[in-house]
């Protein structure tokens, strides 16, 4: 399996920047989604967290990409709170650990990073696909990226497909009844609303595609 492009610390930094830009511009939308079936803070949480991540990474130009992901995860844990803080925080830390101290990584390893992130979210939150959570966007994204790269798709294309899979998963949360997180308290009233965490997850995968494509 050959991918045309090696990624490095700059890829992580620009991924985090892309996320920050994206959640900032979608903040009100995320808040609105969370107000409908949660407590209306998801947009604020994500913005606070990724603003802090971008700031934390600013002084770390020399660190290897795995370290940056771990730092990003720690920063999320320390600044976000709520459900999404520990979940995305652990996710990025677990992903970062996959890379150890290596200076660059390739597509196959990126799959492992995201798979570790997904495993961490599922381990901590005990959610499975269909529970109307971020897992509904993250799991199809990881699966699609793995399949595409296995079929030798170029990385940028594969990431495009993964981002689309995340968005499809995100939209598929609309008719579901939530079984995890705050939305589950609403019972049947959670049906008909898109999950905010799945929505920000789709933004995060789309941001990854942009970060990688811009560098490529």
């Amino acid at each position: 399996m050959i991918t045309e492009q090696a990624m490095d610390a700059a890829t992580i930094t620009s991924w985090m920047r892309e996320i920050e830009t994206s959640v900032r511009s979608e903040r009100d939308y995320l808040v609105q989604l969370d107000a409908a079936i949660g407590d209306g803070d998801h947009g604020t949480n994500m913005v606070r967290g990724f603003e802090a991540v971008v700031q934390a990474l600013d002084g770390e130009a020399a660190a290897p990409p795995g370290r940056l992901l771990i730092l990003a995860g720690r920063t999320l844990v320390s600044t976000v709170g709520g459900a999404s803080g520990p979940l995305w925080g652990s996710a990025l830390r677990s992903g970062g650990r996959v890379l150890g101290d290596q200076p660059t990584f390739e597509g196959g390893q990126l799959v492992e990073v995201l798979a570790a992130a997904l495993a961490s979210v599922k381990d901590l939150g005990a959610a499975v696909v269909g529970d109307k959570t971020m897992v509904d966007a993250l799991e199809p994204a990881v699966d699609t990226l793995r399949t595409e790269l296995a079929a030798s798709a170029p990385l940028a294309t594969a990431l495009g497909e993964a981002a689309e899979a995340a968005e499809t998963g995100m939209r598929a949360t609309v008719p579901l009844q939530a079984r995890k997180g705050r939305a589950s308290y609403l019972g049947e009233r959670s049906i008909g609303h898109q999950d905010p965490g799945a929505t920000s997850t789709a933004l995060i995968i789309r941001a990854l595609q942009r970060a990688v494509s811009a560098a490529g």
Binding site: A35, D39, G40, G81
Partner: protein, 339 residues
Amino acid sequence: MAVETKARKFLNNPADLVAESLAGLAAAHPDLLRYDAAAKIVVSKGAPKQGKVALISGGGSGHEPLHGGFVGIGMLDAACPGEVFTSPVPDQMLAATKAVDGGAGVVHIVKNYTGDVLNFKMAAEDAADDGIKVTSIVIDDDVAVQDSLYTAGRRGVGATVLAEKIAGAAAAGGADLATVSDTVKRVNERARSFGVALSSCIPPASGKPIFDLPEGQVELGIGIHGEPGRRRESLGSASDVVDVMVEAVLSDLKPAKGARLLAFVNGMGGTPLIELYLLYHEVDRKLRAAGLEPVRNLIGSYITSLEMAGASLTVLELDDELIRLWDAPVHTPALRWGI
């Protein structure tokens, strides 16, 4: 991030609300507590007390006086306030745990929300790494939410206040870590709550109501985060509303005939005391009519959702031990007797 809000609020920059309000709490009660702005925690002035089991709690802000208003003597040793309706981060709980540990261990009282549970869990792991004995007890007394595989379980609401008071008294009385933890558990097992809203609250960051509830409607089965309830109905009389609350709580708690109860009528922040006492009038009558004995009560706005109009009922089945601990002296900004 200066979101200008023109909602009906006393507010500077919404991003500073929590810190400024806690600074006010500390300025008002320097004899009881201090606010560590860097660590974002409220710490009892007497902490750490060597040999005493310490109690900490925390959660999103917007529920005042919970938790900062319960820090002091005979209740919490520290509180970890998150942003409004957002659970605090593990760093806060770790700092608080370290600040109050007197060698006898620290009990974390955690309301059952995914965010609170996860963040407290991380902090407890870190504290254990630092050699501090920590137990975490999750409060989940809200009968509006079924505890099943298909939910995140019941929410922690009114019982939190009672558990903090009662376990605080146990800790002040010299009980060990296992006993204090058991006391929290026992309160949680014997308490049930049900809440209703007559209006949404307005989170300061957005300046907009979370939901739109027309006059004459009531949300039944709400939590404390401004979220809508399990169902919406047209608003009946106070007597009708209390029927729903009492039935929801008693059918789940199933107290023994003649049981002695603590009845806690809690305002959600925007409901005035005249209405809370009207509700208590109904609660007291209906509990007695059901053959039960409300021998203790608490009436006021103690676990709130910002300025939401609404109320919750918590019923705790008492025994001699719990009564003794409830009656024990307490001195905090929001709850005080015997001192």
